[in-house]
């Protein structure tokens, strides 16, 4: 599992881990049932405090992305996000705002942006396939 931390970009480090694990799951690079490195090992690999990794794992667990099996380790969950629709919208809107701002800056209209979004979605593949 490859996680890249960039300090100083305003996003808390645990949040960067959370975002990237979600991305890996969504893009199929982390499949349901796959085991994640233990807290200590990931901490050493990406050089962050073990408590920060533990916090990210806890958060991913309560978001339903990961499951801890006692004595066995941490695994990517089967099944879907238990987040409320409202919470989902909040997270997505934040990202969309950034995207729209970039697009406007480059003079790309929203129809083109939607088209690009579809293309990327196709390229990422169907994660349930």
């Amino acid at each position: 599992m490859q996680i890249h931390i960039s300090p100083n970009d305003g996003v808390p480090i645990y949040q960067q881990i959370v975002n990237q694990v979600k991305y890996l799951t969504a893009s199929g690079r982390l499949t349901a049932g796959e085991q994640l490195p233990p807290v200590r090992k990931l901490a050493e690999q990406i050089l962050v405090n073990p408590n920060t990794v533990a916090r990210a794992y806890r958060e991913l667990e309560s978001a339903g992305v990961l499951t801890t099996r006692r004595g066995a380790g941490v695994f990517a969950s089967e099944g879907v996000s238990p987040l409320s629709r409202r919470e989902q919208n909040r997270i997505l809107n934040e990202r969309l705002d950034q995207l729209i701002a970039e697009a406007r800056q480059m003079d790309v209209d929203v129809e083109t942006l939607v088209k690009l979004l579809r293309q990327r979605d196709t390229k990422m593949g169907d994660k349930n396939a």
Partner: protein
């Protein structure tokens, strides 16, 4: 045995007319990574020297593992792994001689761990210390600090002047130390992105004063960065209550504040400014804002919370 590894109380230190430490009180609980930050001459090394018993507390008290490092150097130094900023290793020795020499001081020296580190760090036992590169000297210093598996690891500016590869080794050592059996690390650094990566708590020194000491997460969460857009360009820096710093030009200014957001937003509105962005600052930005603030107004001790 208490859970506080380091206990510094009202420590003041003067060198001639310069105050190096001014009424510093700091507790470091067991099992955490404490990042000690501050600019050059802020007092970081002076504080560390007191912990090692190299300086005697003249006003205030210093306890490490509940002991006075000056009166009980064996009890304290035997449990500390220390890497100094200038890594003062005996130049004339060979690597293997230095390891044998250091081992003699530490009953808990772990020979196989030392051998393993020597291998990982690619240190040639027959090479003279003085012919080692800067990076290899740092690795050798780190090895001697780690090989007796000390309950407390103290690193003074470990990354200063080193390349990214050696810095990774040092950060890795900090993480392994704290992940192992709840050992404790105190490291000073001016590379705040490194501190942000590995520290649990952070203590910020400025002009010998402790301006901030808290959980890193709390420090980051309690500060905000607001970007204000004024209706008219400001010729001079806008004055806003609660702002630790205010940087910018023309119509856009960025403010770092600690809490007090509502107050600041209200003041901004009354001055004809709109908050166009609010986000979380990095530790680096908090540091610069705090130090800047300290420079603008001396004696704002009530701002410091410990």
């Amino acid at each position: 045995m208490s859970d506080t590894v380091i206990n510094v109380l009202n420590l003041t230190r003067k060198f001639r007319r310069t105050t190096a430490l001014d009424d510093v009180s700091l507790d470091v609980p067991a099992g955490i990574v404490m990042g000690l930050v501050g600019g050059n001459g802020a007092g970081k090394t002076t504080l560390i020297k007191h912990l090692l018993g190299l300086l005697k507390a003249k006003a205030g008290s210093v306890r490490v593992f509940g002991l006075d490092p000056v009166r009980d150097p064996v009890g304290v130094l035997g449990r500390i792994g220390y890497l100094s900023e200038d890594r003062d290793l005996p130049n004339w020795m060979r690597v293997d001689e230095l390891l044998n020499f250091t081992q003699a001081y530490f009953p808990n020296w772990d020979t196989s761990y030392a051998a393993q580190l020597q291998e990982t760090f690619d240190l040639d036992p027959k090479q003279r210390v003085k012919s080692l590169s800067r990076g290899q000297t740092a690795r050798l210093g780190l090895l001697t600090a780690l090989a007796h598996r000390p309950p407390l690891l103290i690193l003074d500016e470990p990354s200063s002047g080193l390349d990214a590869v050696v810095r990774r080794d040092i950060l890795g050592a900090i993480i392994r130390t704290v992940a192992d059996e709840g050992r404790t690390v105190l490291f000073s650094s001016h590379l705040l992105d490194e501190v942000e990566r590995v520290a649990d708590r952070v203590a910020m020194l400025h002009n010998g004063r402790l301006v901030l000491s808290d959980q890193l997460q709390t420090v980051l969460d309690s500060h905000s960065r607001l970007t204000l857009r004024f209706a008219e360009p400001c010729q001079t820096k806008p004055s806003l209550p609660g702002a630790l710093s205010c940087e910018g030009s023309g119509q856009e200014w960025t403010v770092i504040c600690n809490g007090q957001i509502d107050e600041l937003r209200a003041a901004a509105t009354s001055q004809g400014a709109e908050v166009v962005e609010q986000s979380r600052p990095s530790l680096d930005e908090v540091f610069v804002a705090r130090v800047h603030h300290g420079r603008l107004s001396h004696g704002h001790r009530e701002e410091a919370h410990s």
